[in-house]
């Protein structure tokens, strides 16, 4: 009796509220679908806008190293090389430092310092990139040229072509890599901290019980457990470095050539587009730049997908075991 009453009451309620709920669901869904359509529009527009360059140059666009707007000859290789190289330098510097910060924040630091330090590291990620670029130009590059680039190229330039001079204005590949490293450290540190702090306590306790030192606990219990997540954090940092535009534009020198030396000016895909698109003279020029943007989008998408997959894997793994 009560059971039947409850069902019919529930039915009545459902009928009464169905339209409102349906409407609400539809409104929320249509806005959410708008988000998806933004992504679809971005892909469609860059694909469509780069049609001229894709037809003209085909696959050779990716392997040609000529970038000559005057002769309408375009190849993306210098931009791809610069993007990958500067990001690789950034990752090489920021990777170990970021992971060590993650270890410090998750395990070593006194708990009183943990909050303010995390906050400070996160602030680094929030500073607008144009400010990094300015600081690079006014402060870091003069210092770097005088005290690092010039002495190194004089000492080792003859033996190692990668470090050859002449160091001109100081803008170049290595400076860009270092500034990008400063910018991606917080990303790597934050992800490493997060994945390291979900390492189950019993993992650590087991090693402590065996008499392991603090470092051995970190090295043998925590890092292996969080490895995939740490690598994921590095890939996320890499994704940021690949797509970073302003700081790179300001410090890399914007020269679409492949040079042997790390002190020589270069360009990245993002900075090539940012510096040339507003003044693109011809249809083909802007089409080629749009194609560069599309290539950049694909590169960052791949890096970020791998990163998400790895971070997700770690978090799911810990959730299942905890």
């Amino acid at each position: 009796m009560q059971h039947a009453d409850a069902v019919s009451g529930w039915e009545r309620l459902r009928r009464r509220t169905r339209h409102g709920d349906l409407l609400f669901w539809l409104i929320a869904l249509s806005f959410a679908v708008l988000v998806v359509s933004l992504l679809v529009a971005i892909i469609a527009v860059t694909w469509d806008g780069s049609a001229a360059a894709r037809h003209e140059f085909g696959f050779g666009f990716l392997t040609s190293s000529t970038w000559n707007p005057v002769k309408n000859q375009y190849g993306a290789l210098p931009a791809i090389y610069g993007t990958v190289m500067s990001s690789a330098i950034a990752l090489l510097i920021a990777g170990p430092i970021g992971v060590m910060i993650g270890v410090f924040l998750a395990e070593v630091s006194p708990s009183r310092l943990r909050m303010p330090l995390s906050f400070l590291v996160e602030l680094l990620a929030a500073i607008p990139s144009v400010v990094y670029g300015m600081w690079g130009i006014f402060v870091f590059i003069p210092f770097f040229r005088k005290w690092i680039a010039t002495p190194i190229s004089e000492q080792f330039g003859d033996a190692i072509p990668l470090l050859a001079g002449p160091v001109t204005v100081g803008r170049g590949m290595l400076v860009a890599g270092i500034i990008l490293a400063i910018m991606i450290v917080p990303t790597i540190a934050a992800v490493s901290r997060d994945v390291l702090s979900v390492v189950p306590t019993h993992q650590r306790e087991a090693l402590i019980a065996l008499g392991a030192t603090r470092w051995e606990v970190i090295r043998h219990a925590m890092i292996p457990y969080a490895r995939a997540g740490i690598i994921g954090g590095m890939m996320l940092g890499l994704g940021r470095a690949l797509g970073e535009t302003m700081a790179a534009t300001m410090v890399i020198g914007n020269t679409p050539r492949i040079e042997g030396s790390l002190f020589a000016p270069a360009t990245t895909a993002a900075s090539l587009v940012a510096s040339q698109l507003p003044n693109a003279g011809s249809e083909m020029h802007s089409s080629a730049l749009i194609l560069v943007a599309l290539v950049l989008f694909c590169i960052t998408l791949v890096a970020n997908s791998i990163a998400r997959l790895l971070v997700w894997k770690v978090q799911r793994g810990s959730g299942g075991r905890a």
Partner: protein, 298 residues
């Protein structure tokens, strides 16, 4: 288990414990050193921006527009950046008006109707948009609006910024609405309140501070974005309210005036940078305060 506690000391001594202890001290110390190393550039950059920027803040800086540099023994320019402040607020404001409804509603959808295949697609799209290089978004706005209208315009910049703001608002809205306890939803459901009513009247008010937080973060991020503006609003030396024409913005000032050979303009670039950094810091501190309150000091 308890028995393993006793031999702990002897185990340490047995296997070169001194060396291992020192190794541990050094490597653990290195993690602290790395943290210090990362904080050095932060402090250097912020202090440099503050010191340099304060020198260029004066009445003219906020009330005048661009004045050409007068060449002389010491080139001078009495201009200010009013046109860029107005431009930045206008461009970001319009972007905010477009991004907030989309972002908040998408966030509500993700939080209230989770686990469907639609919400997976939407979450994936949000993730991709979050990681999207801002220049790519700028290129899209350039192709869609600037190329078609044959005119650089503030509106194109707003649309580009909107695309960058939406995922920030969506994710923070979703995360904060998830913190609303299930018991609240169950209580409302038990009372027979329709879902849309308790979402609007109970869930959203409870998460309001978090939603505002997300909007604040998106605002701060958009204020500092330079690359998409470079290819859409281009820049303008005059004060203008015409959103269908080129406009000036603070980050563009910071970029362009840095590349100028004139000391006076470089100074103004630092002033613009100071304003941007101040906005970012302010937003982040506010977010910290707001989230600390809602998550109980975690």
């Amino acid at each position: 288990m308890a028995a393993t506690h006793a031999p702990r000391q002897s185990l340490l001594e047995a296997s070169g414990s001194q060396r291992r202890k020192i190794t541990s001290k050094i490597l653990v110390g290195m993690t602290g050193a790395a943290t210090l190393i990362a904080l050095v550039p932060l402090l250097l950059i912020i202090s440099y921006v503050v010191v340099q920027g304060f020198q260029s803040l004066n009445f003219d800086f906020f009330t005048q527009t661009f004045k050409p540099v007068t060449l002389g023994s010491a080139p001078t320019s009495a201009g200010g950046v009013l046109h860029a402040i107005v431009g930045s607020l206008l461009i970001v404001g319009i972007a905010l008006l477009m991004a907030v409804p989309v972002g908040v509603m998408a966030g509500i959808y993700l939080a209230e109707y989770p686990g469907t295949s639609a919400s997976n697609v939407i979450r994936f799209s949000t993730d991709v948009l979050t990681a999207m290089p801002s220049i790519v978004v700028g290129v899209v706005a350039y192709v869609l609006i600037v190329q078609r209208a044959q005119q650089f315009s503030a509106l194109a910049g707003s649309i580009a910024l909107m695309v960058l703001m939406v995922p920030v608002v969506t994710r923070t809205t979703e995360e904060i609405l998830r913190l609303v306890p299930g018991s609240v939803r169950e209580a409302a459901m038990a009372l027979g309140v329709p879902k849309w009513r308790f979402t609007l009247n109970v869930v959203i008010p409870m998460g309001l501070s978090g939603i505002v937080t997300g909007i604040l973060l998106a605002f701060a991020r958009a204020m500092g974005e330079t690359a998409p503006l470079l290819v859409t609003v281009l820049g303008n030396n005059n004060l203008t309210f015409d959103i269908f024409g080129p406009m000036q913005a603070l980050p563009l000032i910071a970029y362009r005036y840095t590349e100028q050979p004139f000391e006076v303009l470089n100074q103004q670039a630092w002033g613009a940078a100071l304003i941007l950094v101040a906005i970012v810091l302010f937003a982040n501190v506010m977010v910290r305060l707001a989230t600390r309150r809602t998550t109980g000091g975690r």
